[in-house]
């Protein structure tokens, strides 16, 4: 069998998106996933599709991704459960509202206007169920949420339909250059060769980078989520807050997903996470304070995915700093889902043209070695 043009390591959303966009450009792609597609962070996250609250460096990518989300069916033949009822970030005091005002001003100077400021009345109009003590919010009307596992699977299937080979149960243990090609070895004793490799290995991406001798200060996180039983519909937008970690959304079936970034414990080599109920208790208290309608709810399930975090909370996207023909896309620090559709396109641009159409300098893999002493 002919060697592929590109090998993608990692079958999360960014890996599958890379495979798809490369296949769309006619390249032969093989994707190697150590468990199954969407097994980790990509398949179990809160599904938030937001531009709201992004790090300034991410905004160009996020805006481009949002356009793809609003036509996602054209891209992957599936609507991915994407629903757009807006995302809001709620302020609970005057001081917090002031933070939001300054944010809007800051974005304005950079030419962005996708985040709207709402006062108390405006907030109550779109979020009638929120506690009366809240003073206002930022709103992105076209933001929303999708089904993370379904989305990842859709990207995988579309990539396959365009000729990509997705191989599950392939854990990469060796990566080196042999006669000008990358040679990849897996735990089961298989070997693959290709001129180009993409590192989309999520919480294990530092391991892949280490095979190249490229240091990457990745931290492994187990971000916790919980879901309620079915409740009568009382909320449409996805909700976050200024000061307290919260990601809160109600699905069409009435269940409410509560996330926000409280951490459990992860053992990434065993694919194991453990919940910290004290952290979930804090999350529950936040919900209690913000949404009195939730006080009668019960939590039926909690879980935590295994996610990668970079020290500055923004991802690594771009070429390796030590090797030719190797590109990274990992470390999305708990907010990579919405960026998935565009990151694959950027990787495809880098592979085929050597440059991307969006600014990737802030995401350089070697940025951690520079910096103040």
């Amino acid at each position: 069998m002919a060697a592929p043009d590109v090998i993608v390591i990692g079958g999360g959303l960014h890996g599958c998106s890379s495979a798809l966009h490369l296949a769309r450009r006619g390249l032969a792609v093989t994707l190697l996933e150590k468990d199954h597609v969407g097994r980790h962070a990509s398949g179990v996250n809160a599904g938030g599709v937001r531009r709201l609250g992004r790090h300034v460096a991410e905004i160009p990518l996020s805006l481009a991704a949002m356009e793809l989300w609003h036509g996602i069916r054209d891209l992957v033949d599936d609507d991915c459960g994407f629903e757009s009822h807006g995302q809001v970030k709620v302020a609970e005091s005057e001081a917090e509202l002031e933070i939001l005002r300054r944010r809007v001003a800051e974005l304005g100077t950079l030419g962005y206007s996708h985040e709207e400021l709402l006062g108390a009345d405006g907030l109550r109009e779109i979020l009638p169920a929120v506690s009366p003590h809240c003073t206002g919010a930022l709103l992105c009307r076209a933001d929303g949420a999708a089904n993370p596992y379904r989305t990842t699977l859709a990207f995988k299937r579309k990539a396959e339909s365009l000729g990509a080979r997705i191989e599950e149960g392939r854990r990469v243990t060796g990566l080196r250059r042999v006669r000008g090609l990358w040679r990849i070895e897996t735990a089961e004793g298989a070997a693959f060769e290709s001129p180009v490799v993409i590192n989309c290995a999520g919480a294990w991406a530092d391991r892949i980078a280490a095979l190249l001798g490229e240091p990457v200060p990745l931290e492994v996180w187990a971000l916790m989520l919980m879901i309620s039983g079915r409740l009568p519909p009382f909320i449409r937008p996805v909700v976050g807050t200024v000061a307290r970690p919260l990601s809160f959304k109600q699905f069409a079936n009435g269940t409410v997903l509560i996330g926000g970034g409280y951490r459990g414990r992860a053992e990434r080599d065993r694919n194991w996470t453990e919940l910290d109920f004290r952290g979930l208790a804090q999350s529950a208290e936040t919900v209690w304070d913000l949404f009195p309608a939730m006080r009668g709810a019960e939590i039926v399930r909690a879980w935590a995915g295994i996610e990668a975090r970079m020290p500055d909370d923004i991802p690594v996207i771009g070429p390796s700093s030590t090797e030719e023909q190797l590109f990274h896309a990992f470390g999305f620090s708990g907010h990579g889902f919405q960026l998935g559709p565009i990151v694959g396109a950027l990787i495809a641009e880098l592979v085929t043209g050597g440059r991307s159409n969006l600014p990737l300098a802030p995401f350089r893999v070697d940025r951690f070695q520079k910096g103040p002493a």
Binding site: H85, R230, P232, R236, A252, E298
Partner: protein
């Protein structure tokens, strides 16, 4: 549908189901009390709104979900009857066209 064996000696307990008075025996679970009173259907299902009734009576099937004294989604087979208890059957569908 279910009759009480004559040996079954117990004090009676009064409660209401959807506002209607019902007599049960001390020691009954709420699920058993309803069945004894001829109330079979306790809710409608969450997706298709079809009627459901208790299935396992041991706390694993989650079919007997009722609102008891204002608290929703309680497993009626795990709650003992008490005088004055207020029980409400639950309409299942939470979904709304979006």
């Amino acid at each position: 549908m279910f009759r009480r064996l004559p040996d079954a000696k117990r004090d009676t307990v009064s409660l209401t189901v959807d506002g209607n008075a019902l007599t049960a025996r001390a020691g009954d679970s709420v699920a058993a009390a309803l069945l004894a009173a001829g109330v079979l259907v306790c809710r409608t299902s969450a997706v298709s709104e079809t009627p459901r009734a208790p299935y396992c009576l041991m706390g694993v099937c989650f079919e007997c979900l009722l609102a008891i004294d204002g608290r929703q989604n309680r497993q009626a087979c795990l709650v003992q009857v008490a005088d004055g208890m207020r029980i409400e059957t639950q309409a299942g569908k939470r979904e709304v066209g979006r």
